[in-house]
Amino acid sequence: MIPELGLLALILATCLAILQSILPLVGSFTGQVRWMQTGKNLAIGQFFMVLLSFICLVYAFLTNDFSVSYVASNSSTLLPVIYKITATWGGHEGSLLLWILTLVGWGMAIALRSEKLPLVLSSRVLAVLGMVSVGFLLFILLTSNPFTRILPFPPMEGSDLNPLLQDFGMIIHPPLLYMGYVGFAAAFAFAIAALIGGQLDSAWARWARPWTTVAWVFLTAGIAVGSWWAYYELGWGGWWFWDPVENASLMPWLSGTALMHSLAVTEKRGLFKSWTLLLAIATFSLSLFGTFLVRSGVLTSVHAFASDPTRGLFILIYLLVVVGASLALFALKAPDVRSTIRFGLLSRETLLLVNNVVLVASCATVLLGTMFPLLLDALDLGMISVGPPYFNTVFVPLAMILAFALGFGVILNWKHNSTQWLMSQVRWIFVVSALGGLLFSLFYDSRFLISEALAMGLVFWMVLAMIRDIQNKTRNTGLLQGVRKLKPAFWGMHLAHLGVAVCFIGVALSEGYSVQKDLRMAPGQMAEVGDYAFRFDGVSRKNGPNYVSDYGRVTAFRDGREIGVLNPEKRLYVVQQMPMTEAGINAGLTRDLYVALGEPLGDGSWAVRLYVKPFVRWIWFGSILMSLGGLLAVSDRRYRVRVRKKISQPRATGASLAGGQA
């Protein structure tokens, strides 16, 4: 009964979504206030319907209802309760339901906060969101119903959740990621509403900005968790693999980052209007495109869902309708929102333009690398796979250009700056950074690495430029007083940029100075890797709830002192007969020790892989700082002040102007 209730709720949600995409939109053209006001209640109703449906699915998992086909193929009686809940989004159908739940959740949030918006705008935004969710609801109902039953002979036991997904990282990774993906639907809806109305002012940008930033915060956190998960769960020692599915999340992140920066210009200076709109459309399209890649089976990947061409076709048609229509609308209406303000060559505007160009170029690079094998295959030119070498060669220089531009960007003011002034600002920073990078690379390790010198130089460059900016902004009032007067948006910007610098440190040092050894180790045997010594203490059998494990024990030493015990594991998940590696990690601020078990080699010896990875954790620290920076920026008061007052207020001056970028 319960699964049927869930399905019914989904069907009702679809009806509400259809109404939501028609009534408020029509009302906004005919000026019927009643019709426009329906959007809010429809969005709330839709959310509760989808929530009910989701709860029904969770309930089916908790009660081991294997007559539901999706439950039977993603759960088993042995599965721990927490994973029974998270198994709800462990497969295609359920994760799609979670995606829809987050989408309508965003829809409701916007509806609830929409009182601040002009009614015409908010009703159009909600109508666009309604259209987006109609597509996804039809998709799930027509091709991927999670409530399909296996009757009359349901299996006695389910085939268990994929062991890769039985992990804490996997519990939070998809919801975070979906919050990000789907959050860009808000920016998209705002953009379409602006195009329909042919009006885009800085008030518009001020409404659209916090939603975009929050989406970006979630996406950043989601990608970071995914990378962290790959690091400790896959046991390959890496944190990014340029897998098509990873690329699918990186593309909207890159264009979303560009969007955030371009929105800053649109809000502060009323510039880049059509460009901002295009980015908003592109970012959400890339989120949809990622969904297509993951679920259609067009590309093979480690964590692609079961492929099904019907689903692929459905999403493709959906993409064609949504994105095609939006881009057509853009092509026709963009001239209406053209801006005519000018700015000097040496200005924050220019640097943000550079930022956008570099980010969009990176995004195009990833898109090309992901699509290239498919392109060649389609043209029958043979088959290739584009691997990390391609991405690294193109991506690393782009990241460095971006970091260099960042330094100028935070120092420069809006509108216009003189060359002389800029030179006086950055001269010493430049010299100190260049020397700092060189000295660092000379003394950190016996090898001198030019790429690491460059990367560390850029870290100095970014951090010093930020400090200089804080100094500049507090010059008139004195540092202590000035610091207190600066707005959260300003601090958010710098915190997020500090995150970029921290991330740089992590990537540069862990890539440059990691030491790795593959060894055959007998119990009691010692091995030295870098400054550390490892003693292999052997492997014992252990039983988990639904797996058996070869539980290794490795003791790590430094300078003869014991610093920790690592427990790498090889697990065999019973139901799926699937072996899994769990790396043993001794985490530290300045280095991770990382041990993975290979294969048993007889007489108690094992193939063991030992790593010392300096500063690898900083990659994720950096991502956390970026996310926190985003949150801090959103907390700025100016996003919460009522619209009417906002419009009559004079333009912000001085310090608060600078806070526009985070």
């Binding site: 061409p309 493709l316 389609a378 088959m383 007969q577 193939a607």
Partner: protein, 179 residues
Amino acid sequence: MKRWTLFLPLGFFLILCTLLLAGLFMEDKTVLRSVLLNRPLPEFSLPVLEEERQVTQDEMKGQVYLLNVWGSWCPACKAEHSQLVNIASDGFSIVGINYKDSPELALNWLSHSGSPYLYNIQDTDGRLGLDLGVYGSPETFLIDQEGVIRYKHVGILDGKVWNEKVKPLYEMLEEEAKL
């Protein structure tokens, strides 16, 4: 900015969609191209990774085996690896095609993780993979004792696929061979 440039994103998007549509309807990659199914292995003469010798398709006849396409650069292959080791330890024969890889890295990986393979065919330039219609690694072919391709699986050969599809077929072919 000229008026027509505003249509560029739309044009680009439509081209991308055409490509994706083509990708969807290209022959189903998880199923063997009908041309190759039940046809003998393509001709080749390639070095063996572990030893100083060449191997050709004719020398490989005479037994049922799995032909697994892999590379040390391919994360999914690494995920598949311990499953292959299990299969090999259950007494099934696996021959590897080390696809577009450097011999050094491949041997390094095998010595670390244990080799499930009887031996590996070294397909450095990917020619054999191309003839076999390899789309992406890992891929696994089932070859009968006449050297004819009987089944192909694209992607990780996990416990489920192995136990439900490939293993029964393998055992059936072995029965056939005994007759």
